[in-house]
Symmetry: C2
Subunit: 283 residues, 2 copies
């Protein structure tokens, strides 16, 4: 049982992790070992205090070095759900479960609205997690939709299992050349279930497959954490970064604008302090 599980490896998650480490908490940090893709994607950041005109790549390296210096580890997994167990919380990553007394959500923000039917069919032909559900589609036909180059390894992994992959990419410079992957630059308008198949409706054609993977950097918080209060796609928090769920805190872009490093880092710090306070009170 951990004191805290931090979900997300963007600027807010980093700040929360550094502060929990300093507070000597027993925490688990789940996200990408390479940190949030958004960090290195930033061209030049001029208003982050302490680092003059830093590129996203340099900022990412500064973050990675600091995490290493502090002996902080990242568990490289995708969280598929967070469930209230009354006394504590269970965090699911596919078939693995981790438990903690408090949760810090640093999920980032969805850059693309959910596709019509996506949320309704989640777990019934729609999946967010290649490593969790890929094996269900061995030798089957799948559709994969992704908004970012960072998921290409997952697409290749899926291609190694599936018979055929229809890959719909919403970014430039797709670097996937595999015999069983058909790449097109397109975005689903709607997902439907038809008999036991999944119908993905595009602008001017339809794809029938056994399932669809929707790979995106951030998942809608209300889908990930049942019961969590959200408004316009953002988690509702107060100044202490408390959500409507006791022991669950949120920070960074997932709590709303401005989508800025400084704001995310500030909330990550506050969320860590609030989690610590909660742990002290509920010993």
């Amino acid at each position: 049982m951990y004191d805290t599980i931090i979900i997300g490896t963007g600027a807010a998650g980093i700040s929360a992790a550094l502060t929990l480490k300093q507070l000597n908490k027993n925490f688990l940090w789940i996200g990408s070992k390479d940190l949030s893709y958004k960090i290195s994607a930033a061209e030049m950041i001029r208003n982050y205090p302490g680092l003059s005109s830093v590129s996203g790549k340099d900022l990412k390296n500064a973050f990675l070095n600091q995490i290493k210096d502090m002996n902080i580890e990242i568990l490289d997994k995708q969280v598929t759900g967070v469930y209230d167990m009354t006394q504590n919380y269970a965090v699911l990553c596919g078939s693995d479960t981790y438990e903690a007394k408090t949760i810090i959500l640093a999920l980032g923000v969805e850059s693309v609205k959910p596709i019509k039917g996506e949320v309704e069919l989640l777990g019934m032909g729609v999946s967010y997690c290649a490593t969790c559900d890929g094996f269900l589609y061995k030798n089957k036909d799948i559709t994969v939709f992704s908004t970012s180059k960072e998921f290409e390894d997952e697409v290749k992994y899926l291609a190694s299992l599936a018979k055929n992959v229809e890959y719909l990419a919403l970014y430039k410079d797709v670097d996937i050349n595999l015999d069983n992957v058909n790449v097109s630059f397109d975005m689903p308008k709607e997902i439907q279930k038809e008999n036991k198949k999944i119908k993905t409706i595009l602008k001017d054609r339809e794809i029938i497959s056994d399932g669809i993977f929707v790979l995106k950097p951030a998942i809608s918080p209300a889908i990930l954490v049942p019961g969590l209060e959200a408004l316009d796609g953002h988690i509702v928090i107060n100044r202490k970064c408390e959500t409507n769920l006791k022991g669950v805190f949120a920070c960074g872009d997932c709590t709303g604008r401005p989508y800025q490093y400084a704001k995310a880092v500030g909330e990550g710090n506050v969320a860590a302090h609030s989690a610590n306070e909660f742990l002290q009170k509920n010993k």
Copy 2:
């Protein structure tokens, strides 16, 4: 008329200034050219994302270089009052006045509670500002109370004007050796007005002088800005860093705990964005 006046040169003020600069606002930044003394006083900071195990001195230099790179100037003055002029705000620094449509308060936090009588006698024998009021005490006897070494230049300035100075210092390594300055390590318990003199009551003696200067890094926000809502010495704000006064925003330690660089920097960023939004709406 400025778009915004930022008051305070700690981490929150720096973050607000960098962001207003990037937003291309016409702003004035008032504080210390050497930044908040607290920054360089920190021994080692380990949880500020992007700078691994940075000393307060190195952090201060990083901030100063960044401000220089961005061509941002600091007006080195002490603010003595902020007044609501209905359509805008007037910021007083002694006898100088500056006007702006919005105000960002990044005042830091008082480390010492006000002395009994201090607030009541402000402007009637009690002063917070050596450069503003020093000339009133030419060839007179004054008492000076300070909590920090950073004010020694002001004490020396006062000594150059006054006849005699009773200097009460609440810090170590006082470095003032002047014939007309008597240094003691003591703290006033109460300040009283007696005839036209000021009586400063210490633990086991009393000092009678013509006035007392109370020099401290942060001034109580409700004293500085009449009408501002504060609670337990902290300015009350919402998640947008809005105070109860329209167009007045607050950030950093003055809004409450945790007293952390990351939290201050985050709120400075949010305050700047909120001020910008306010300016857009009230064009």
